[in-house]
């Protein structure tokens, strides 16, 4: 005979603070890729301390740099020159 121990649907808020290191490699002026490793995190929901020093988040990412303000200004300048 099967006995149900629990069957629950729960939603809740929590927060995590973490610290770590990032190694980033730049491929070009615009693009870079990186890998991150958090060596410590703390879950704020816990009533007891669960700071981890070895089991943090691991990430990889891709980064695209842009300078939209500068480019916008340059377009305006070129339009003004054409009008002149």
């Amino acid at each position: 005979m099967k006995t149900e121990l629990y069957n629950r649907n729960t939603s809740s808020f929590t927060a995590v603070a973490s610290a770590g290191i990032t190694m980033r490699y730049r491929f070009s002026a615009k693009w870079s890729a990186y890998a991150e490793s958090d060596f410590a995190y703390y879950n704020f929901e816990r009533k007891y301390s669960t700071i981890s020093l070895k089991n943090g988040a691991k990430s990889i990412g891709l980064n695209y740099n842009f300078t939209w303000k500068r480019e916008k200004q340059e377009v305006l300048k070129s339009n003004q020159i054409e009008q002149l």
Partner: protein, 172 residues
């Protein structure tokens, strides 16, 4: 009772989606490696967009009551980065993470000629809004850079969890 409890996974955790995404990012990165770089352009970049795949430990996202071994949670994040100085930047983003696992454990040592089985299932999904500060003491003009980072991540999570146990007498 727990000492005799032999646990084994019935299903592999579903991380195929994460692996495909990692390979996809690797291909894009390799293609972009051929582009020329310029120090002036890098110094003028004030903002950046960022896509990130991460794996958070279950303890950081889940709850101890439903803890299952090795149920880490893969996340995908989209972020905006504002450069504060040559060495520091601030990042805000939004991310979604999900994982699902099912396990069963069997033991024949609870009572003579009996089989004890416990089955657990969990589906965890979460939305995260990470705030991250990064700083480097090294030359920011180098291709290879190292940063120290600190982040604070509010999370909204939904956990669907169930568990059953049964004790069957072995007819043999």
């Amino acid at each position: 009772m727990l000492n005799d409890y032999i646990c084994f996974p019935l299903f592999l955790f579903r991380r195929i989606t994460l692996l495909v995404a990692i390979i996809f990012i690797g291909i894009i990165s390799a293609a972009r490696a051929q582009q020329a770089s310029s120090e002036k352009e890098i110094q003028s970049g004030k903002s950046a967009i960022d896509i990130r795949l991460s794996v958070l430990p279950y303890d950081a996202v889940g709850t101890p009551e439903y803890r299952m071994p090795a149920l880490d949670v893969p996340f995908i994040h989209l972020s905006y980065i504002q450069r504060l100085s040559d060495r520091a930047n601030l990042q805000i983003g939004i991310g979604y993470g999900m994982n699902e696992a099912q396990q069963a454990g069997v033991s024949r040592h609870i009572k003579a000629d009996s089989i004890y089985m416990k089955e657990t299932y969990q589906h965890l999904s979460a939305v995260a809004i990470p705030f991250t500060f990064k700083w480097t003491p090294f030359n920011p003009g180098k291709r290879l850079q190292f940063y120290g980072s600190a982040s604070f991540t509010p999370l909204y999570r939904h956990i669907k969890a169930r568990a059953t146990e049964s004790l069957k007498v072995d007819p043999l």
